[in-house]
Structure formats: C-alpha cells, structure tokens
C-alpha cells in the first residue's frame, strides 16, 4: 500500500469535520421555498388543517428536505473556512481528485421533522475505494454515513452517502483548422500539386514567363495558355514580418510570415520553420519544407538552407 493510500485509508471510521447544527431550526419559510421549487403539492407541508386531517399534529417538513437543514449555507460555501479546510477533501485534492459528484444517497427516516426542530448532522467515513476509471475521469468513491439528530440527541434519520471524487479529464478543444485557401479553377492546380509536396510555378505557354500567384492570364503577353514547371525549392527571404496580434487559434505565435523569392524568380507568401523569429534575416537562404496541417491541406514552408542536411 502506498503512503498516500495509507493516509487515505486512515480516514475510515473517522468523523469528517465536527458535528454540524443547522443554522436555522426547521421552519415554514424554508419549507415553502423547497416545495415551491420542487413543485410539490402535498398540503401537509404548509396547510395546518390538511396536516391535522392526516392525523399529524401540524405541518411537517418534507422527508427528503432533511439534508437541507444542515447545509453550510452560502457564506461558508464561498469563503475559506476560518476553522481550516476539510482535511479529507484536501487529502483527496492532493491526489488530484478535485471534482466531486454525488452518486448514492440512502435515507432511513425515523420520524418526521416539524417546525422548531433543531437538526444536527455527524458524518463518519465508511470506506474509500481504490481509484476507478469512470465516465467522468479517474476517481475514488467515498462512502460516509450521516447521522441526523434532534436537539435531544434522538436520531431522526440516517443517510448512507457516496461521492465520487474525481480528476476532471482534460477536455482540451481540438486545435481549429488552418483557414482554408480560396481555391478556384485558376489556382486549384497549385494546391493540388502542394498536396503531393510539389512546389510548382505557373508558366505562360507562349512567352514562357513565370508568374505567381496563379492567374488566368499572362501579365507579360496576355496569353491565356499556360503550363507549369516544378520549382527547385530554393530561394531567399525577400521580406518578412513577425505576427503577434491578432491571433488565429490555428497558428503558433510569434508567427513569421515571409515573402520568399525562389531562384526561379517568383515570390510567394509563406511561413518559416526551424528558425526562431528573431533569427530570420532578409536575404537568408532558404529551402522548401512541407507541412500537412490537416488531411485536406498541405502547404510549403521554408527553413534556413544551412539546416538542410540536419
């Protein structure tokens, strides 16, 4: 048994905290709030005559409400307890079990509560399970017994109570997709080649001049006829900026956005890889590399040429 397990199991049979007495005695206003919220129409909770008609001496509290009488209340729920935190809760948090959900409650009621009753509760640890994998995450079931007493010490109810103390699973959102390029019939060939990790350049079929970005018409001679050549994948940084803001969640920042001039003479806007933003320089020799941000998108990026052999 690990040292942590031993410290946990040492709690079995021990009381959790001290005996807690309800802040207010059983009272009609709180009963009214309860039955209104529960939409419980049973008249014995608010109507004296209806309660007497059932053989009772007067109104009674709903049986299920017993736990509410000894709840800590708002102030203690939201502030650090000056008397010190609950040591068992702390010990469980130390093991990473920071979240909690109630799983079982078994009440046995010995008598009905009536306005004026002062209820106290004492809670004793019954068992602490080994770590179990649950739908919520890995956790331990902590079973306790709560004993409810009235002012004279008479037991009015018992409650077997089970909580799952668990480690919330990391629900990190999947990284959003990189923005889609606006693909049309004039530029589709370039992105299709990129998917095969080929960097191509559009060439005029008539005057043979190269152009980028792709377009339908040669800016030199006006021809609509074109083909492509595959670039060698080498060039230099013509210019660059380092983006810090605004951020798009698909990118890592700081983000280098560079204009790379290929040895063939055309330029393209791209990202840098394998180099810290502060080490990028205009004129730096670069070679192409490829990234596949998602199954539908491959894009050329550039890294410093001296890193080529690494």
């Amino acid at each position: 048994m690990s040292e942590y397990e031993e410290r946990l199991q040492a709690w079995v049979g021990r009381p959790v905290g001290t005996v807690r007495t309800g802040q207010d005695p059983v009272n009609v206003p709180m009963i009214r709030h309860w039955v209104e919220a529960m939409e419980d129409g049973n008249p014995v909770y608010l109507d004296e005559a209806a309660a007497r008609a059932t053989g009772r001496e007067g109104v009674v509290a709903p049986a299920s409400m017993i736990q509410a009488w000894t709840m800590r209340g708002y102030a203690a729920s939201v502030r650090e307890d000056p008397a010190g935190p609950d040591e068992l809760t702390d010990l469980l948090a130390e093991g990473g079990y920071t979240s909690v959900v109630a799983t079982d409650s078994e009440f046995e009621f010995h008598r009905e509560l009536v306005p004026g009753d002062r209820v106290s509760v004492e809670e004793t640890v019954d068992s602490i399970s080994p770590e179990k994998n649950t739908a919520l995450g890995a956790g331990r079931f902590v079973s306790t017994v709560k004993t409810y007493r009235d002012a004279s010490g008479e037991v009015v109810a018992t409650q077997r109570w089970r909580l799952l103390r668990f480690r919330p699973e990391d629900k990190a959102e999947p990284k959003p997709l990189r923005p889609r390029p606006a693909i049309n019939s004039d530029n589709a060939f370039w992105f299709e080649a990129a998917r095969e990790h080929k960097l191509v350049i559009q060439r005029c079929a008539d005057c043979k001049s190269l152009r980028h970005p792709p377009g339908p018409c040669c800016p030199q001679c006006g021809s609509f006829d074109w083909d492509t050549v595959e670039a060698q994948g080498e060039g230099h940084v013509y210019s660059y900026v380092v983006n810090h803001h605004p951020r798009h969640p698909a990118f890592d920042y700081p983000l280098v956005v560079a204009v790379v001039e290929l040895t063939e003479g055309t330029r393209l806007i791209t990202n840098m890889t394998g180099v810290a933003p502060q080490d990028v320089e205009i004129g730096m020799a670069v070679v192409v590399d490829w990234i596949d941000p998602d199954p539908d998108l491959s894009l050329p990026v550039f890294r410093p040429a001296e890193n080529k052999e690494r």
Binding site: N42, T103, F109
Partner: protein, 138 residues
C-alpha cells in the same frame, strides 16, 4: 385522498410524471436546498470541472422522487426511506420521466416502490422509496 394499504398491490404501476428540466428550475431547486456548489448554477465553472453544463443536485433528485411517490400515495403517507443511485446527469433543456412500480409490502403497513427517472441520456435515478400507509394493515 390518501391511498390505503389495502388498496395497493405489488406490481401496481404509478402514473408517470414528466418533469421539464429548465435552467431556472435546476438553479432554484439547488438554492432551495441550500446547495451553493458552482456546478449547480455556474455554466462555465461546471465545464471547467468536467461537466458539459450545470446539472441538478442530488438533494433535488431526492425531493422529486419524494414528491413523485407521495403525490401517488397521498398526504397521509409517511416517508420512511428514500434510497437512490444517480446515473446520467439532469442537464438544462432535458426532461426527466419518472416511473414507479410497487415492489413490496410488509405486514406493518409499509409499501416499497421502485422508482426510475430517465432523461434523454439514460437513467438519471434508480432507487426505492418506502412509505407507511394508513389502513387496517398498519
């Protein structure tokens, strides 16, 4: 009108009760039970703690099961036990359908009812309630 012990037979089914689970109701019942845990009223903290939204607290589930059975049994019934296990959380926007069947009677006027509350995800609550009914058997 309260149900008498003689009127009840094992196997008898309780009328179904459908409860719309609004966000306001989930928060109002949590507060009426003096339960200020953030997972019962603060959606963003509930998500941080591993839930998809705020969810109904167990004290309210006990209250609704109590209401369901005593509505059938009548005002003279005295609740002697409520034993529940929670499953699928009750999230806002869902509906819980409560069903029940009389599962046992003893000689002392006590009747046990098996209760089940199901929402869109699955069973939210399963358990038993024991009530003491009036009648010559009591």
């Amino acid at each position: 009108m309260s149900r008498s012990f003689e009127d009840v037979s094992v196997g008898e089914e309780l009328p179904e009760l459908s409860i719309p689970l609004t966000r306001t109701m989930i928060v109002a019942t949590a507060l009426a039970s003096r339960d200020y845990q953030d997972v019962h009223h603060d959606p963003s903290l509930a998500v941080e703690r591993g839930s998809k939204d705020v969810f109904m607290n167990i004290l309210t589930t006990n209250g609704l099961v109590d209401r369901y059975v005593t509505q059938w049994a009548g005002p003279a019934a005295v609740v002697k036990a409520i034993r529940i296990r929670l499953g699928a959380p009750n999230y806002p926007g869902d509906t819980m359908l409560l069903t029940g069947t009389v599962s046992a009677k003893d000689d002392g006027g006590r009747v046990e009812i098996k209760v089940r509350g199901t929402n869109a995800i699955g069973p939210h609550v399963t358990g038993t309630v024991v009530v003491q009914l009036q009648g010559s058997g009591a």
